[in-house]
């Protein structure tokens, strides 16, 4: 691996591991569990993706967009004052919050939208929880002149009203979903129903590394630029690789994006942080890897939060982006194989880290990313000064001002 930051879009794809297999399996996880009507379109998508993965013109356009539109490479920032206050290991932040639209999500939406354009599908749809993926999709749709429809649970629409307004400003239609638990999982169901009904002219831009093959692999490959940059930047700044990587895990796209290029670096610990909500023991959380069991939802086999009858359970997290009962199948595989470990952080702990980073570094993190920060803070205290951790600061916290203000009893 080159020691200087390398922003070439998909460099290194396919070399890190041989997974998934040809049918999209990561060990027992992943696969393609959908109604027959979607099998053809998924095969078509997979073929197009593999074709453009090796297409120099496509890769050059993607690379150009990531550089000049998204603003890559994102910095690897040493959080000196925060690290000093914590004591122990030094913490670096991979600044995905500085991307255009304010989160890592745009890395993937740019890639999938360019693919949609080449497939001649000028209508894109998306599901969104916190609204970051919806905004990133609406943004690229505006730029490419595509029609855009975003599905969002009505509960999430309430707590993320700013992002809803942003999507509408960008010309997207935002459809409230009031079935089921009225959050991300239900938005995903509804987007999938739209796709199956309009599959001839519509491209479904999925925002996470879950769902049927090829999405988990494709979204990972588009997000792996995070890890490739972080790896090269670590070598450049510290002359060696980090001792640990920490990222929050809802569906798990920012985490897999950071982890994937380090999979064969066995001295680098990979730590995913799930939303512990009120605490895993209370049952009010969103931590399928820590407290769930394997099952099939949204087109793939993976760890799920489910009851004793196999019905999907409602989840809870302070952060809408982590409020999801499943997780990408590659994370399930990384957990079982022991290559990555998964921890939980409660709402309260995440909020404390949110405030601490804001006050010591002048960086307001997303509540999602604050889960990773909170765990990194715990971890750093027990490590030595000459060690260092890279945390994926996957998004900025502007969208969460309303949530935090409400908790503080303030009306904005």
């Amino acid at each position: 691996m080159n020691a200087k930051p390398d922003s070439t879009a998909l460099t290194g794809v396919g070399h890190e591991t041989s997974l998934p297999d040809a049918r999209g399996h990561f060990g027992p996880y992943g696969g393609r569990f959908v109604a027959e009507t979607l099998m053809g379109p998924l095969a078509e998508l997979e073929a197009a993706y593999h074709r453009y993965l090796g297409d120099a013109e496509f890769l050059a356009e993607l690379d150009d967009d990531l550089t000049h539109y998204v603003g890559r490479p994102s910095p690897l920032y040493y959080a000196r004052r925060w690290s000093d206050e914590l004591g122990g290991a030094r913490i670096y932040l991979k600044r995905e919050d500085l991307n255009h639209t304010g989160a890592h999500k745009v890395n993937n939406t740019v890639g999938q939208a360019l693919l949609a354009k080449r497939m001649g599908k000028m209508r894109v749809i998306a599901e969104t929880g916190a609204g970051q993926h919806g905004v990133a999709t609406a943004t690229i749709a505006a730029r490419l002149g595509m029609r855009c429809c975003v599905y969002m649970g009505v509960d999430d629409i309430k707590r993320q009203s700013m992002n809803v307004f942003r999507m509408k400003m960008l010309g997207a239609e935002v459809v409230g979903v009031s079935s089921g638990s009225r959050t991300l999982k239900d938005a995903l169901n509804e987007a999938m129903r739209d796709w199956v009904s309009n599959v001839d002219d519509t491209f479904y831009i999925i925002g996470t590394v879950a769902c049927p093959h090829p999405y988990p692999a494709m979204v990972r490959d588009f997000q792996a630029i995070i890890g490739r940059e972080a790896r090269a930047q670590s070598l450049q700044r510290e002359g060696r690789l980090p001792d640990a990587l920490v990222a929050c895990v809802g569906g798990g796209s920012n985490a897999i994006g950071l982890f994937y290029p380090f999979i064969n670096d066995h001295d680098v610990k990979l730590i995913g942080v799930e939303a512990g909500g009120d605490g895993v023991a209370t049952g009010r959380h969103s931590a399928p890897l820590s407290a769930g069991s394997p099952g099939v939802l949204h087109g793939n086999r993976t760890y799920l939060m489910q009851d004793e009858c196999g019905q999907i359970e409602e989840t809870h997290s302070i952060s809408a982006g982590l409020d999801y009962p499943g997780v990408g199948p590659e994370h399930s595989w990384l957990k079982d194989s022991g290559r990555a470990q998964y921890e939980t952080i409660t709402d309260t702990e995440a909020l404390a880290a949110f405030r601490h980073l804001t006050r010591t570094e002048g960086i307001i993190p997303a509540l999602e990313s604050s889960h990773a920060l909170a765990h990194a803070a715990k971890l750093a205290r027990d490590m030595k000064r000459d060690q260092f951790i890279v945390v994926n600061l996957s998004g900025r916290g502007d969208k969460d001002m309303h949530t935090v203000a409400t908790i503080d009893g303030i009306t904005l």
Partner: protein
């Protein structure tokens, strides 16, 4: 011979078309289900499809989504579904019953245990909406061994290769999805799909039922022309929803509507 095969043989013998009717088990509540199943048979249904409710019915339109929610609110577990079928079987030992649902609840109890208990209750077949043939091998082996047919979906965009792969696993009949969409979606364009159904019938060597989007006797008659059976669901579930908790009224209305479907497809069958 399985009840499903016997049913289609009898239909073929009299050159008739099959009428497959879908309702959600446990909608509006589990105790109502056996009576509603009998009403379907009185109206002239040949086969009953019984929906197994799931929290995330990704392939269903709003009508069946709401039915699933009502059923789950009233505690419709798989155990309750078995009880509904067993109760139905006390008075009807000939009408085939096919469970239609999503993989996770079946897999969660284990395919073998599910198939064994379903068979014991009098279930004849199972259609797992989100289990395409690529992922079906283990499940298929186990349910077949327990004497339960596995019905598969075929879509208008399924390639000939896929239809062949599906037919390696399918038994009972195959379910041709008439529209690219969710259950209860836009109306079927009969002309467009007739050719695909004819091809499927050639490849399948199994009876072909057509469903998704058949909502009226007229549509039923038109669709019956090219298939061995027609499948109606959302239109029936709407009737149940309309009558709320008044099971008796719902049963009466279901019987009347199913008879109108029966008459329509029989007229067509006789004319053919």
């Amino acid at each position: 011979m399985s009840r499903i095969s016997a049913c289609f043989e009898s239909l073929a013998a009299r050159r008739g078309k099959g009428l497959v009717t879908f309702i959600s088990a446990g909608d509006p509540e589990p105790n109502a289900t056996p009576a509603l199943m009998h009403a379907l048979v009185r109206g002239g249904a040949d086969i009953i499809e019984l929906g197994v409710p799931f929290s995330d019915p990704m392939a269903d339109g709003p009508v069946i989504q709401r039915a699933s929610e009502r059923a789950l609110e009233h505690g419709t577990t798989l155990d309750e579904v078995y009880r509904c079928v067993a109760k139905f079987r006390e008075q009807d030992n000939t009408t085939p019953v096919v469970l239609m649902g999503y993989l996770n609840p079946f897999e969660h109890v284990g395919a073998a245990r599910f198939a064994e208990r379903a068979h014991a209750a009098g279930v004849d077949g199972v259609l797992v909406v989100d289990l395409p043939p690529e992922e079906a091998e283990d499940f298929n082996r186990v349910v077949k061994a327990a004497g339960v047919d596995q019905v598969f979906l075929v879509a208008p965009n399924s390639s000939s290769e896929r239809v062949k792969m599906i037919c390696n696993y399918a038994s009972g009949f195959v379910y041709f999805v008439a529209v690219k969409g969710v259950t209860g979606d836009k109306a079927v364009d009969v002309d467009v799909i007739n050719a695909r159904i004819a091809e499927t019938r050639t490849l399948a060597s199994l009876p072909v039922g057509i469903g998704f989007g058949i909502r009226t006797p007229q549509a039923a008659a038109a669709s019956a022309a090219s298939a061995d059976a027609i499948i109606v669901g959302s239109a029936l579930v709407e009737i149940i929803e309309h009558h709320g908790t008044n099971t008796e009224a719902a049963a009466g209305a279901l019987e009347v509507f199913v008879r109108s479907l029966r008459d329509a497809i029989d007229g067509k069958a006789h004319a053919a």
